[in-house]
Amino acid sequence: MSSVVEVSHLRKRFRLPLDKSTTLKYRVTHWRSSSRYRDLVALRDISFDIPSGQFLGIAGPNGCGKSTLLKILCKIYKADSGYARINGEFSAFLELGVGFNPELTARENIFLGGAMLGLTRAQLRNKIDEVFAFAELEDFAEQKLKNFSSGMQVRLAFSVAILAETDLLVMDEVLAVGDASFQEKCFDTFSRYKREGKTIVLVSHDLTALEEYCDRVLLLDRGEIIADGPAAEVSAAYHRRVAEHALAAERDVASQLDRGDPNQWGSRAVEFVSVTLTDGNGESSRRFDTAGPMTLDMRLLAHRDVGDIVCGMAIRRADGLMLAGTNTFLDKVTVSCRSPGQIVSIRYTIDSLPLLAGGYIVQVALEDITGTHTYDHANAAASFHINAMSGHVGVLEMHGRWQVGQDTDVPSSTAVRQTAG
């Protein structure tokens, strides 16, 4: 099978000038200091091939070099050494709606966007009704783009972007757009591409989306490929890595509650002194097991008599999705801080964590009893990681049971027919 994309020993380094000198005057007056640069290595020695018909995902944290790699693939950047070769035609949408102009009507923008993809006006004219139908914008053809809502703009842009039929499609983070129903349409389109055997490169930091569509995922970190293989394997490697980073960060920071953090606020009439996670043995830990116990210990310090307060906690996935949360008010537990200087200990015990492998964040908050005043709020007071054990997929452990019926227990359709005959 021939390779559609060949990437060999690709290197890219950016020279970032410490002062951006774009005026002649600066050049003349600062000619001696022309060597003041900071080097940023974006890609170091990247090599891979994409065989025809493969759906490749590229993932990695921000700044890992995935966008740079994509831009070199699409000939927008030039590599310092090595090469990226595409055998055949490609169309790239690194962003939806590139080339669109808000002052033009939707119809004019389709012609312009189509031209960017290499399509002629005559070709587009035959297709334009279909484009509007797909974007669900039939009644807005002659409206100026600036009067469109952002959702409408994205729908139009996506509908134009998928118009060009090429051997290779390169897409950057386009999955994160549109409302749920339109996203489903996008996914249908990707499924069709897959059925048609097109070669696709999809870049995203949403590994879940990549897992669903990609045959193979490349994981980049600091300009290097650190994992390459089937999506599920790479996904596991990625979660391990996220947890390692979290643990490393934990060791580096003395206090869990960094007061300079913008994710924390409140008047601090009462404040958290410490937030600790402990395992079943009563030891402080950052690694837990699915269905295992976890205890959240919080110590509060009151600076004045605030009376009854509410203490809340929530667990979020690393990307911010709220998974579960509760507070003392909802659970009808009273917390009082009546004397200044008093330390109050609060413990929340979870007997069986219903979470699957991955990185999670604990959010804690102290509020007054009416819930209108925040004393102390920390979005990421602690983080923990669930070990991969069961092989179950997703976020939640279902605690379900399988039952398989036998012929004697559950009458099958044939058994029913036999008795009827």
Partner: protein
Amino acid sequence: MTVAAGDRSLLEGIPRPRSVFQRNLNLVRELSITSFKLKYTGSALGYVWSLVKPLMYFGIMYLVFSILLKAGAGTTDFPVQLLVAIVAWTFFTEATSTAMNAIAGNGDLIRKAYFPRWILVVASTTSAMLTFSINTVLVIIVTFALGHLDLTWLSLLAPLYYLELLVLVLGLALLLSSLFVFFRDLGHIWEIVSLVLFYGSAVVFPFELIESHSKKLAELAGLNPIAQIITDLRHVLVQPDKIASMASLIGPLAYVPIGISVAVFILGFTVFHKLTPKFAESL
């Protein structure tokens, strides 16, 4: 997995035209039409401005230079000469000043899409050519109405001079657009250079005025391609027997500006080609 996928009407792709030339040409067309359109959208008069503006401009130039200052009083049909020169000059300044921003002003496109970068420069020049065509039609109508355009066999040379102007403008456009990405001072520098060229190219007075002042100065000024193009256009379009061509004014030196035009084009092309890979990272 997705059961509904089969039933849903999907948007099928269109195979792109195989010819890369056709695709590029199409993109040039769309981009230049767009920039022309954008110039007039939102205004109450819209496209009417594309006719009103040059007419006003011609009128003012005619009033100031031909009537008040009596420039070219000795030569025939100076108003027509003025019109021919102004149309050519307007194309030159519009094309070069918009080209300056053709790359730097489209950072978004350059950072996020792949297409040959020269398309942006050619599109901005094409957009200026649209204005030029409108102006030319206006001039033809005005001068025919006045009965002053003297078309002869010699007038067939005019397209060649316009071609020379186009080559010069494209060269400068490529040069300016690519250099402006890295040196933003170029914008101001070019404004001053344009002003020097405006007076040095005998746009609003006959070239003979320079010659009558000093032969040496005329020989120097005649090397400027714009001066040569404008003078020769006047020669072939207005009155061949009364208005001297550049060759008759400065002799064989008149071929130098043609060489300069071609040289500028080659230089612009080379510089643009060299700098192209750096655009996306610098914008």
